[in-house]
């Protein structure tokens, strides 16, 4: 199948590159030109700044959690404060970072460019989505400043409705609004991908980035409203004492769990699919090969989205659901492993006999593939009924979803940010420093979360601020790892900010990648293309790119 790649790697000489005089960044000036913009690229930048801000707030909570767990005694914070710390960490990271991370930044920036459109279908709704995000973030910060919330990010009833006197309502409203922000992003993507493709851009010529975002958008549109109604019912129960989830009034708390996880399981695919989107692009570009099994990878995204709606009960195995139903959901859960494995295998076959180079995005992508595989496989453990009873609500599950979300999604996010940084800003990041950051992140990550698998297997429960003496060694390792990880995340912020002014000028296509977004200037013009392109080749066609480049050279000569 995989014949030796015909493409000879020849990256362009960047010393001759110049910054274009006109681009989307300097098209207009002033704060208002950003706050009232309809340009998808500017909105992407607004999103990038906002989610980075919330990432570090959520990260600060994580740091405090790890600091508390350094010693077996609860000596840094009280147990109530600890409950608030992990709750705020979870809510901020899930709803304000992971869900919008890649779609709202990279997806927003790139999808119109990749399909040859001037903008998303609804620029105003796109901007509205950012304002909703900011409103949600502000409310969340308000709740935090007023004393926080300690329900856990899952808003579990009847704890959230009857027993807590913290800012559950404010937080629920914030999550409700953040949900609308996510719905509008997803809706915009779906309409754009269906309606705005340039001539010749058939479905099977689209980059896999777009396919995965399409699948994630379907999940956003169909899943999020169920979370919305669930939160409305929780709020009504808290305020008016009505009893849909209250057993003393005949309600069923498990109904809350069903409705909540009907969204929140697909939500993990909302978080991971855009990460997979990034990896497909990066792996292909730095192997200089078409993604192996393009069609299979494209459909595996859709399959993940579809299967994602049939497995939610695996979060509820120990909650007293029916055994028979649990069996069905357990088997369906195994099914999701198939499309995920298709992706991993196809990326590996893409690497095979490719002209691989190890630029920073590729390092992060390798990190993703390894860590996501571990995270995914431990997910199969947890999907098995017997194992789940032993492992759920322990640090095993904490390690599992951090491997997928942090090891997977965050690696993919950083990979994508580095990969498209030259396109977004027109400047290169410092290569050696960023490689260091990638390695530091990888080491720090493993040091943080590997011990947690063991802790969980040994039976340390999650969500407690104190633990028996014998778990201390592994917890110290984990806290040390978190410190390294923190450095790994701070480094990119510093050098990426530095590169805005001092980075080498990137040129149009520094990686010699094939996507339409790379065939225009960096940073792009306000409406992306001077002339709507015509897609006359397949996606990831490196021969086409080479011929195009040769063609250009003869013109100049």
């Amino acid at each position: 199948m995989s014949a030796p790649s015909p493409t000879i790697l020849k990256l362009p000489d960047q010393s001759t590159a110049t910054l274009p005089k006109k681009n989307f960044i300097n098209a207009e000036h002033g704060l208002l030109s950003w706050l009232l913009t309809g340009d998808h690229k500017r909105i992407a930048i607004l999103y990038l700044i906002s989610i980075t801000f919330f990432f570090f707030i959520g990260g600060a909570f994580a740091g405090l959690i790890r600091l508390e767990l350094l010693t077996p005694q609860g000596d840094l914070v009280s147990s109530d404060t600890y409950n608030k710390l992990f709750t705020m960490h979870g809510i901020i990271m899930v709803f304000l970072f992971l869900v919008p991370s890649v779609p709202a930044t990279l997806g927003n920036f790139l999808i119109p460019m990749m399909i040859g459109a001037r903008d998303l279908a609804f620029p105003k709704i796109n901007l509205l989505s950012w304002y909703l995000y900011i409103a949600a973030g502000t409310l969340m910060l308000t709740a935090m400043a007023l004393g926080g919330v300690d329900t856990g990010w899952t808003f579990t009833t009847p704890l959230s409705t009857h027993y807590l006197n913290t800012h559950v309502l404010t937080t629920a409203v914030a999550v409700f609004i953040a949900g609308f922000s996510s719905i509008f992003t997803g809706l915009n993507f779906i309409v754009t991908i269906h309606r705005m493709r340039c001539p010749g851009m058939t479905w099977f010529r689209m980059p896999l980035f777009v396919w995965a975002h399409y699948a994630a958008s379907i999940l956003m549109v169909l899943g999020t409203p169920v979370l919305a109604i669930t939160l409305v019912l929780v709020a009504l129960e808290r305020v008016f004492g009505i009893g849909v989830f209250d057993p003393s009034k005949g309600g069923d708390p498990l109904l809350f769990q069903h409705l909540f996880w009907f969204y929140s399981h697909p939500a993990v695919y909302i978080m991971i699919l855009p990460g997979m989107a990034v990896i497909s692009e990066v792996v292909s570009t730095f192997s200089r090969k078409r993604v192996f099994g393009y069609t299979a990878v494209a459909f595996s995204s859709v399959a993940i989205a579809l299967f994602g709606f049939f497995v939610w009960e695996h979060h509820m195995f120990i909650m007293g659901v029916s055994n028979y139903s649990a069996l069905v959901f357990s088997l369906l859960t195994m099914l999701v492993a198939v499309p995920s494995a298709i992706k991993i295998f196809n990326w590996c076959f893409t690497l095979q006999q490719g002209s691989i180079t190890f630029e920073t995005p590729m390092l992060y992508a390798f990190g993703f593939m390894g860590l996501f595989t571990i995270g995914g496989l431990t997910g199969v453990f947890l999907g098995s009924l017997g194992m789940d009873i032993q492992l759920t609500e322990t640090y095993f599950i904490v390690a599992h979803f951090h491997f997928v979300m942090v090891g997977g999604m965050l690696m993919a996010f950083l990979s994508g940010i580095h990969f498209w940084w030259p396109k977004m800003t027109g400047r290169m990041y410092p290569e050696s420093l960023s490689k260091l950051a990638a390695v530091v992140t990888f080491i720090g990550f493993n040091l943080t979360f590997m011990p947690q698998f063991i802790l969980g297997y040994l039976g340390m429960p999650r969500r407690y601020h104190a633990y028996p003496q014998e778990f201390q060694v592994l917890n110290v390792l984990s806290t040390a790892g978190a410190t390294v990880l923190g450095v790994g995340y701070l480094l990119p912020v510093l050098y990426l900010a530095w590169s805005l002014k001092y980075g080498a000028i990137a040129g149009d296509n520094p990686w010699q990648a094939t996507g339409l977004e790379w065939q225009t200037q960096s940073p792009p013009l306000t409406e992306n293309f001077t002339e709507i392109p015509i897609m006359d080749h397949e996606a990831y066609d490196y021969e086409w790119l080479e011929h195009k480049t040769q063609h250009e050279v003869t013109h100049v000569g």
Partner: protein, 115 residues
């Protein structure tokens, strides 16, 4: 730049399933739909007053579903829309059914007890 949409006659919506030529429903058609919806309302009230045992809810929901289909097809113009819109509507009801049936799989079998 020529634009990509193809404007030749494509009644079965095969060559470009995302596009349908625009169709205006006439007031006479709307009046017919309106009359059938009112008739359906009268019918469901009458049916509710007759004791039909287990069929009472089935008939009531059947009539409601029929009315819904009429509204979707004509008031909301889905009959004249592209395959894309039709598939979108179908996807909504499919997911609604998934929510209901998969959740019910727990509630129905919970009382069956242990293995």
């Amino acid at each position: 730049m020529t634009q990509p949409e193809q404007h030749f006659h494509d009644p079965s919506n095969i060559t470009n399933p995302e596009h349908a030529s625009h169709h205006i429903v006439t007031p006479a058609q709307y009046a017919l739909v309106f009359a059938s919806l009112l008739a359906g309302t009268a019918l469901t009230v009458v049916a509710a007053n007759i004791d039909l045992g287990v069929f009472n809810p089935i008939i009531a929901l059947g009539i409601a579903s029929t009315k819904m289909v009429i509204v979707i097809l004509f008031f909301m113009h889905v009959k004249y829309q592209s395959h894309l819109i039709k598939a979108t509507v179908a996807a909504g009801f499919f997911m609604f059914l998934v929510l209901i049936t998969m959740t019910l799989s727990d509630y129905i079998s919970r009382a069956w007890g242990l293995w």
